[in-house]
Each structure stands twice: as C-alpha cells, then as structure tokens.
Amino acid sequence: MRRLYWILAGSFAAVLAAASSDVAAQEKIIQVTAEKFKFTPAVIELKLGEPVVLELTTLDRKHGFQVSDLNIDESIEPGKVTRVRISPAKAGTFLFHCDVFCGSGHEEMAGEIVVKP
C-alpha cells in the first residue's frame, strides 16, 4: 500500500496522505537520496504553487528528513521509498536536515528547499 501524507504548515498547503497513484501522474517527482553525510540534491528548487512529491531513499543506513518550518519529519529507511508531497504556497528558503544521528559528520547533513515565485 503506497501512502501519501498531507501536511499543513503555516501558509504551506503541503499534504501527505494515502494512495499516490492518482496524483503521481500530474505532479512532479523529485528523487532525493540520503547517505552519510549528505543529501543529493542538497538544494531542492520548487516553484510557488506547483506541488511536487519528494521521493526519499537512503544509500546506506537509516536517516531522517526534517523540515521544521514545514512540519515535515520523516524517516528514510533502507530499502524503502518515503514520499513527501509539498505544495509550496510561500516563497523562501526552508532548511532541512537529517534528524537521525548517523555519525561524525551528521551535523553537516543538511540542505535547503528554495521556493521561487
């Protein structure tokens, strides 16, 4: 059972919930990989008002993906795809980081979501 999660955060109408198949066709998918101690890409550029689905995978061990300003807090488990739907309703830069301690260099495992008008 594939799942989507709807998240509401401030002026962001971001959503995560169940059944991704009906939205996948119309929404842009961005692949994001996590590994010690980086995300690729580290800068995720979005356009205001254009929903996307981030597909998060890990290349080594369990990591986290937290965007506190958007109320996003997900785990990235080995062998699984974590999908996060974001509908950016506000321009700006939003920091994300790994929130599962993963070793020396964990503090540098971070990036940013840039929402352009």
Partner: protein, 311 residues
C-alpha cells in the same frame, strides 16, 4: 574588553526566577562563598561537550583542551561539591573499539580532577550510535536522580534515542521521581539537548521535550542546565529557566545566525575563545543560584585566567 567578557559574565538567579547580571572572575563563586556570610551555600561546576577524540580545524589543540579544563577547575581557590558533565564527553566514531578507547581515555583524564564527585550524562556523540551501550558500561545509567544538600537533581537522557526523544518510559520515570516533592522544592535538571525548541532547523531541540517541560512546570523552582549548542544561552519557558553552557572543543554560532551550524572558525590569535565552563553557586535558601561563566581563553598550560577586574 571583549576578551574579558566571557570570564566576567555572571548571572544571579533569584528564586530560580529573576536574573541579575554582575561580573566576576574564575573562582569568584568561591570568593563570594567565603565572604558571603552564608554558612550553608555550596557550588558545583558544569563542564560540557568535551568531545574527546575530535580532530579537525575547528580546534587544532583538541588533544590538550580537556586537560586544560581539568587544570583550570583544579586551580579554583576552592573545589566544588561536584562536577557535572552535560554530554558529548567523547566525539562519535563508528568504530566500537575506538569509542570504548575514547571513553577510557576521557575517564583517565578527568580522574585528575581534585573533586571526587563527578556526574556524567551522554550526548548524542556518546550514545546515539549504540543507544547508550558503551556509555553505560563506562559511566553508568544515562538517566537518574540524586539529592544534594537540599536540592533535587534529575538527569534526563534525550540522546540515546538517535532521533532525540526522551521517550514515554523516561517521562513516566521522571514523574514518579518528582511526584513526592512539594511544589516549591528546588529542582535542577541536567540534560544534553535543549528541552525546548531553540532551533529545530539546526537540530537544537528534543522531539518530545515539551512533555518534560509540561511535567516540570508543576514545580515552581526548576532550572535546567544543558549543553549541545556549544555556547552560553539563557531562555525561559514559563517559570523554568534553561541555561546552555559553553563547550570545551569549539564554539558554534548563535542560533540560526547563519545558514549552516558550522563551527566558529578557529582563531590562532585566540585559540581558546568561546571555550569554557560554568560555576553554579547555590545560596543558603536553595532558591538563589548564581551562574559564573569561566573562559579557558587566557589560560596557560596550568593556571586559569589571571584575575583582574571587579565584581
């Protein structure tokens, strides 16, 4: 003057509440104690984030810093009742054997402290990769409580869970530990991460820290001392005061003051700037805490910063 600021700053907490700034010098808590007309006050020292085993440009002198801190504390005019280490005693490593080696080396170095009573708790660098296993083998429990001269001290572990949660079981323990205390009991909490959302964007928070804060708010005189953020910081949530300590490895920038939480670059002209420890004096009433921030800057190989200035 800026050079001296760190070792002169001094905060007095009245009723674990109001804050009064004064200034002081290393050991002045001792001076106050001797001249303060209070027979039953005492003080303890907080050391934090020593990161033994760290190597890197943010502190090329890392192999010496912990020993310098030990020497500085030993050089205080009077010795504290006890010394508490608020986490990240060692720098993390994936190698289990190396992790144990660092913990053994840390213990050997701090064994030189004159003060025999030392309290430990883990930081995420000590405990998050093995859920506290090595820490417990070397230092004992990761959460516990004790009483000392009229104050109840509780140690909260918010790092053995690699996702920075305290967990419901420990919250239940905390409730059962504090429940017998009257509402006005003086309580001091030690923990590694901030219990409040200081800067979640930089991982400067505890996932379920609000549960601990909600619980602690049932008591009127609660003060929290923590580490993790490698700088002095003071904050209040309701009646609870939260005080972060400087580190003994490298300073970090002020919360969200720059895009990344990268260490403050090492300055060869001031190699120990931003590094230090804290003296906490407890007044006779047990409701007055005086915080004194001591800097390692200016310390030589053996002695603490030369005393000058007023307080």
């Amino acid at each position: 003057m800026n050079d001296l600021k760190g070792r002169r700053d001094f905060i007095k907490l009245l009723g674990f509440g109001g804050v009064v700034f004064a200034s002081g010098l290393p050991g002045c808590a001792n001076v106050l104690r001797k001249s303060g007309r209070q027979e039953d006050d005492f003080f303890f020292v907080q050391l934090s984030d020593t990161h033994w085993g760290f190597k890197g440009p943010p502190n090329p002198e890392a192999a010496n810093t912990l020993r310098q801190a030990v020497q500085a504390v030993n050089a205080l005019p009077r010795q504290p009742d006890f010394i508490v280490f608020t986490g990240d005693l060692t720098h993390t490593t994936d190698d289990e054997a190396e992790r144990n080696k660092r913990m053994r080396e840390f213990k050997a170095i701090v064994a030189d402290l004159k003060t025999p009573v030392r309290r430990y708790m883990p930081g995420e660098h000590d405990a998050s990769l093995d859920q506290g296993k090595a820490f417990q083998e070397h230092f004992g429990a990761t959460h516990y409580s004790f009483d000392h001269r009229g104050i109840h001290f509780a140690v909260i572990d918010n790092v053995s869970d690699p996702q920075a949660a305290i967990g419901d079981a420990q919250i239940d323990w905390l409730l059962s530990d504090l429940k017998p205390l009257p509402p006005d009991a003086p309580i001091v909490v030690f923990t590694h991460r901030p219990l409040f959302d200081l800067a979640p964007q930089w991982d400067w928070a505890t996932k379920d820290g609000s549960k601990a804060i909600d619980l602690l708010q049932h008591w009127k005189n609660v003060t929290v001392f923590y580490g993790h953020i490698h700088q002095e910081h003071h904050f209040r949530t309701g009646a609870i005061a939260h005080h972060a300590a400087q580190s003994l490895i490298f300073p970090l920038p002020a919360p969200l003051s720059q895009p990344k939480r990268a260490p403050v670059p090492w300055d060869p002209a001031h190699p120990r700037r931003g590094l230090g420890y804290r003296e906490i004096s407890v007044g006779e009433s047990r409701l007055v805490l005086t915080l004194k921030e001591d800097s390692l800057e200016g310390t030589g190989a053996v002695k603490p910063a030369a005393a000058s200035g007023t307080y």
